[in-house]
Symmetry: C2
C-alpha cells in the first residue's frame, strides 16, 4: 500500500445538501450548501459555513435567524437553480412556496420534507472569507408522511447528497447495519 | 399540505461518517463522528464537534492536531467498534494500522481511503458540552486506486453515511445530475 500525498482540499464524502433560507431586505432568499453540521444536541444546534460574499449572509446577520431545509430528489432542480443564481442579481423569492414559523423572519420551503427554524447563537469567522453561523434549532417542521414514530424518516424524505470531486448530486443507497451495534464484537477482549 | 411542528432535534440527512484520530498520552485513539463539515476552502478547513467527555478531545487539545479519516464500507465494523468503546476504558491503538504525516502527532488510518491531517486553528465551545474544533487540512493522503484525475473518487472510496433517525449506516446510491448545471434553466427570466 502506498499512501500518496494529494493536494489538500475540501474533501468530505458524502456531503449533505441543504437549502439555507433567510430574509434579505424583507424578501426570502435561498442558497444550497453542503457545508453544514450538527454541533450540539441539547439544545439542538447546527452550523453552516458560507462565503461572506453571499447575499444570504446579509439577511442572516440582519435578522439573526435562518432556516435549514432538507430538499428531496423532487426539488433538486430548483435547489440547484438557487446555487447558480445570486440573490444580488435575481429575485429568488418565488422559486419556492414559503412559510414562516415562530421566529417570523426565517423563510422555510413548503415542498422540502424537513424544515429547521434557527436562531443565530454565534458567528465565527474563519478569517479567510467564510462566516460560520451557529444556530439553535428552535423548531422543526415536517408533514406526517415523512415521519416514522414522529421522527423524520430518511427513506420517506429521499434527501440528496453532494460529491465535490465529481460535482454531482447523489441519491442515498441501502442500509448497511446498525450504529453502536454492528461493531460490538469486533474485538473480543 | 399540513406542516406539523415536530420535536426540535439534531436532524441532518444524510450525515457523513468520519473517524477522527488523535494521540492521547502518546497513543492513537479513534472516534467515529457524523458532526463534521468543511468550513473553508483556501486554505481548506474542516470542523468537527465532539462532546467534551470524549477521550479523543483530550488528545486534540494536548497536541492541537487531529486526523479525519473517511472509512469505506469495508471498515465499518472497526469504525463502529470505536464508537462503542471509550478510550478511557479500552486501548484502541491497535484497532487500525496507523501512520503519521507532517504534524507527527495526528494518527491516520492506513485502511481508510482518505486521510486528512489537521492542525487546530480554533476551538469553539457550544456552551452546552461540545467542543467544535476547526482544523486546517495541511495535508491529504490517498492511495492511487481511490483517485480519478488526482482527486478522491466517491465511487472508488465507497464511503458510508449515517442516519440519526434509524441509527443505521448507509451506502451511497446513484448520481442524479450535475451541480451548478441541472437547475440552469429551471426558471427562465
Amino acid at each position: 500500500m502506498t499512501k500518496n500525498k494529494i493536494k489538500p482540499g475540501a474533501y468530505l464524502y458524502p456531503m449533505p445538501v441543504v437549502v439555507v433560507g433567510a430574509n434579505v431586505e424583507g424578501k426570502p432568499n435561498f442558497m444550497p450548501i453542503g457545508w453544514v453540521s450538527i454541533v450540539e444536541h441539547k439544545p439542538p444546534m447546527i452550523s453552516i459555513s458560507a462565503n461572506q460574499g453571499h447575499y444570504t449572509n446579509i439577511g442572516i446577520r440582519e435578522n439573526q435567524t435562518f432556516s435549514v431545509n432538507t430538499p428531496s430528489e423532487d426539488i433538486v432542480l430548483p435547489t440547484d437553480y438557487c446555487g447558480i443564481k445570486s440573490g444580488k442579481k435575481v429575485d429568488k423569492s418565488d422559486v419556492f412556496e414559503v412559510f414562516y414559523g415562530e421566529l417570523k423572519t426565517a423563510p422555510m420551503i413548503k415542498d422540502a420534507p424537513l424544515n429547521l427554524e434557527c436562531k443565530v447563537v454565534k458567528i465565527v469567522e474563519t478569517g479567510k472569507g467564510h462566516d460560520i453561523f451557529l444556530g439553535e434549532i428552535i423548531q422543526a417542521y415536517a408533514e406526517e408522511k415523512f415521519l416514522t414514530n414522529g421522527i423524520p424518516d430518511i427513506t420517506k424524505m429521499k434527501p440528496v447528497f453532494f460529491s465535490m470531486s465529481d460535482l454531482n448530486y447523489w441519491k442515498i443507497g441501502e442500509p448497511i447495519g446498525r450504529a453502536w451495534h454492528i461493531g460490538r464484537d469486533y474485538k473480543k477482549e
